[in-house]
């Protein structure tokens, strides 16, 4: 099999013509192109380092501790504390819970009245004077030895007034 069918004259002419071709005197481009791959190789490392430093800085600012062990500990405690008080997740799960709420609410609403008959403290709450007034009143009642009976009478009057006011509200 002849692998070289080219005419010898054609081959010599090809050599002559290509010898006449002179490459242009231009600067090698690889001299200016070799810096790019190095920068491209370093770019991911620089990116990772900057992300890590930003995370470390934010963790330091959040925890106030430069120790990375504290960062992890704080994160664990935050996650645990958030998982122990899952108030939004408990509500939808029981289906009978909304049915129990109406039965309990009237009891809760009525419970201040019987307790109001037994003890004068809830009546103070209903009067809207606040808890500070309740504590102060209790202590002053106990502390005042002179007018103890009058205080008790006044309490009875308060009870009656409170019950009356409660009835008047219902009506």
């Amino acid at each position: 099999m002849n692998d070289d069918p080219l005419d010898p004259r054609l081959a010599s002419r090809l050599r002559e013509e290509l010898d006449r071709v002179q490459p242009p005197h231009s600067a090698p481009r690889y001299l200016s192109a070799h810096t790019r791959p190095i920068a491209l190789r370093l770019a991911p490392a620089v990116l990772v380092a900057s992300v890590i430093s930003m995370l470390a800085l934010s963790a330091y600012v959040a925890t106030g501790s430069p120790n990375p062990a504290d960062w992890g500990h704080d994160v664990v405690t935050i996650i645990q504390s958030s998982s122990t008080t899952p108030t939004p997740s408990v509500r939808p799960t029981p289906t009978h819970a909304p049915e129990q709420e109406p039965t309990e609410k009237p009891g809760e609403q009525e419970s201040p009245e019987p307790s109001g008959h037994q003890s004068p403290e809830p009546s103070d709450d209903h009067s809207g004077e606040g808890t500070s007034g309740h504590d102060g009143g209790g202590s002053s009642d106990g502390g005042s030895t002179d007018g103890g009976s009058t205080d008790g009478g006044s309490n009875d009057e308060h009870e009656g007034s409170s019950s009356d006011s409660g009835q008047s509200r219902r009506s």
């Binding site: 290509l18 231009s26 690889y30």
Partner: protein
């Protein structure tokens, strides 16, 4: 003017990753690679671009070059692949130009006025590269196969096809004197 054979001792002079060795490879191989691409591509500027790009690509992979393969053949392979890609892109671009020039006289003239180079450039790049590597650079089939990454049998087939096409193209008016050129895009 035949160069020294590619596979006999030349590759032992280069060391992968050595900047000085690559500079030496560039000085030795760039003119030869440029002439190879000049025979494949019609535009000397495109030949220069492809040759420079091939050396840039070779330089970026110089660390991974294996000394068992000839360095110049390796660069030739990169350059020929570049030229093939360039020819493909030019073909697509030429279709658009032909469509735009419909009805107008064709003003495309080969600048170097060589019917031989014009006929060579009208061949498929792989055939033209085989012809140049064989008849200009003086490589044997095994060296061309190593340069282009194909088998020796494939190189034999390409050389035969390229010779037949060149003869068919040049025989009617073949002579040793240069003749006026004709357009390079008649057979592509």
């Amino acid at each position: 003017m035949y160069p020294p054979p590619l596979l006999h001792g030349v590759s032992e002079e280069y060391h992968p990753g050595s900047r000085q060795d690559f500079d030496r490879l560039y000085r030795t191989a760039y003119p030869r690679v440029f002439r190879t691409l000049t025979a494949i591509l019609a535009d000397p500027g495109a030949a220069e671009d492809c040759a420079q790009d091939a050396f840039v690509q070779a330089f970026q992979a110089w660390d991974r070059w294996r000394p068992d393969a000839p360095a110049e053949a390796w660069v030739h392979r990169i350059a020929v692949n570049r030229a093939i890609s360039y020819r493909r892109s030019q073909k697509i671009r030429r279709v658009g130009e032909i469509l735009r020039r419909l009805g107008r006289p064709n003003a495309t003239v080969d600048p170097d006025h060589s019917d031989l180079l014009t006929a060579l450039r009208s061949l498929p790049p792989k055939l033209a590269a085989a012809i140049v590597l064989r008849h200009y650079h003086g490589y044997n089939n095994r060296e061309i196969a190593a340069a282009l990454g194909v088998t020796e049998r494939t190189i034999g087939t390409r050389l035969r096809q390229a010779g037949e096409r060149l003869r068919a193209r040049l025989e009617p008016d073949f002579s040793l004197e240069p003749t006026p050129a004709f357009t390079s895009d008649t057979h592509e």
